[in-house]
């Protein structure tokens, strides 16, 4: 397209946007609501992912050693575990630390502490707390620690027990919840996006329906399809731009308010800080999503009236 046509198209789009204020405002209003739904969904996912991450962090598999196990044996097993691709981290708790922790936990319980003193020796073995990269990989790690596996070698006798089998049900349940929520989340977002597309498409279609006679006249005075479409596309881009700015402006105070109400509940998740740190990403997402939606809607809506 020649530069002069670009200029004419942009000017006509700006003029149309300003002169048809009622149509422009109603389109922007609907688009702002749609983009707000998308933003809410985006923030909701962030809260959900954060909460899930917190729960996941709390899950680990603990390997308890016998009291006879040497420090060398524990260190060997720790090194081997760290060599596994599924393992994220391994935390070592020594026998002394375990005793210390027990005492701290029962600091007011004189009877238990007295019984411990009477034993004369430290009854606690060392332990390793193993965190997996993914929650579904705990069973694979537990398998490596089982007797038949070659991982332990001569150190087999040093292991007293692995608690995976006691918490297996909880891990499986959590695994299925994560899988289920991911599937539901995926389909829910597809439904949301489709619904938003339909609402915006129908709004733009209605806005352009008003111009059907004008489009016919433009064709009859010899305007090309692209020359007619151009200003509508410029208007569509302006709707997306204004609606994005409005949505971002609405969500700033909204996230401040929500943060105030939920900061204790979500154990340190600051939604406003999350919103601000993802501001550019969110703004670009909304702008691109809004622009694609309005431009494609406008393109399809005008096409219908160009067929003369």
């Amino acid at each position: 397209m020649k530069p002069v046509l670009w200029k004419r198209t942009i000017l006509a789009g700006l003029r149309g946007f300003y002169r048809n204020r009622t149509v422009s405002l109603s389109s922007i209003f609907i688009l702002t609501i749609t983009l707000s739904i998308v933003t809410s969904f985006y923030l909701f996912r962030a809260v959900f992912d954060y909460t899930l991450e917190q729960v996941k962090e709390k899950v680990d598999v603990r390997v308890y050693f016998t009291t006879d196990a040497t420090e060398q044996q524990v260190t060997d097993i720790k090194a081997k575990l760290l060599g596994l691709s599924d393992v994220k981290s391994v935390e070592y708790t020594s026998r002394e630390q375990a005793l210390e922790d027990f005492k701290k936990k029962h600091v007011g319980d004189q009877l238990t502490l007295q019984a411990l003193d009477e034993l004369g020796t430290n009854p606690f073995g060392a332990s390793l707390s193993v965190a997996a990269k993914d929650i579904s990989r705990y069973s694979a790690i537990a398998d490596q620690l089982s007797e038949g596996s070659g991982l332990l070698g001569d150190n087999k006798s040093a292991i007293d027990k692995v608690n995976y089998y006691q918490i297996k049900d909880s891990i499986d349940k959590l695994n299925s919840i994560i899988g289920w929520t991911n599937t539901v989340g995926f389909w829910l977002s597809i439904v949301f996006v489709l619904m938003s597309c339909m609402i915006v498409y129908n709004t733009i279609r209605l806005a352009i329906f008003v111009y059907r006679d004008e489009i016919a006249v433009m064709k009859l005075v010899g305007a090309s399809n692209m020359f007619i479409r151009g200003p509508f596309i410029v208007e569509a881009l302006l709707y997306a731009l204004v609606a994005t700015v409005l949505t971002l402006a609405i969500f700033f105070p909204a996230t401040v308010w929500v943060t105030k109400k939920t900061i204790f509940f979500f154990e340190g998740l600051n939604i406003n800080a999350f919103y601000l740190s993802h501001f550019v990403e969110l703004a670009l997402t909304l702008l691109i999503f809004g622009s694609l939606l309005t431009v494609i809607s406008s393109f399809l809506a005008v096409r219908k009236y160009l067929k003369i």
Partner: protein
Amino acid sequence: MLYFDRVSKEYENGNKVLSDISLTIHKGELVSVVGHSGAGKTTLIKMLLAEEFPTEGTVSFNSDDIHTLRGKDMTNYRRKVGVVFQDFRLIPNKTAYENVAFAMEAAGRHDDEIEEDVPHVLDLVDLKDKMLHFPHQLSGGEQQRVAIARAIINRPEIIIADEPTGNLDPLNTYDIVQILKKINDLGTTVILTTHNKGIVDNLGRRVITMENGKITRDQKSGKFTL
């Protein structure tokens, strides 16, 4: 210049609006097409604008069958034809100036050419002082004059005026007919459909009379007779 060769138009419901029309319109003619409502005048005009397609026969402009034109060829053809409608069909959110300039912009004309020609043509139709008015700020006669200015701005070879005075009072009707006559005197072919006996009789030019989708009379210098 314009040839209708055995053109018929029948809608899907069996309603036949044009029946075996053969007609030639030469360059520089001023032709009035008259007939009762439903006689087929508007369909005939729509055929010329390629808004309607014939069921049988062809409509040609010079040697081109206009109903086979596509894309750029159709756009170029439409730029050679200026149209004036009974209901003006101006673009409501554009000023008189912008409505006329639009036709030039669509044809890809330069800005300085537009800035020179549009005021000149609006002056010709006596609307220079109202060129920044929007259609709703103009009277019916003024709106029709803007429509004529838009139709002639690209110096078309043909002007098609479909009942251009249908919504106007006698004084504005006289003005519009005088403008169309002037345009024709400058060499542009004018095709006019009308119900107005006074206009046709005063013009004293070629008159085509239609009835039930057929041409019943074609007189070189005719009168309005139904």
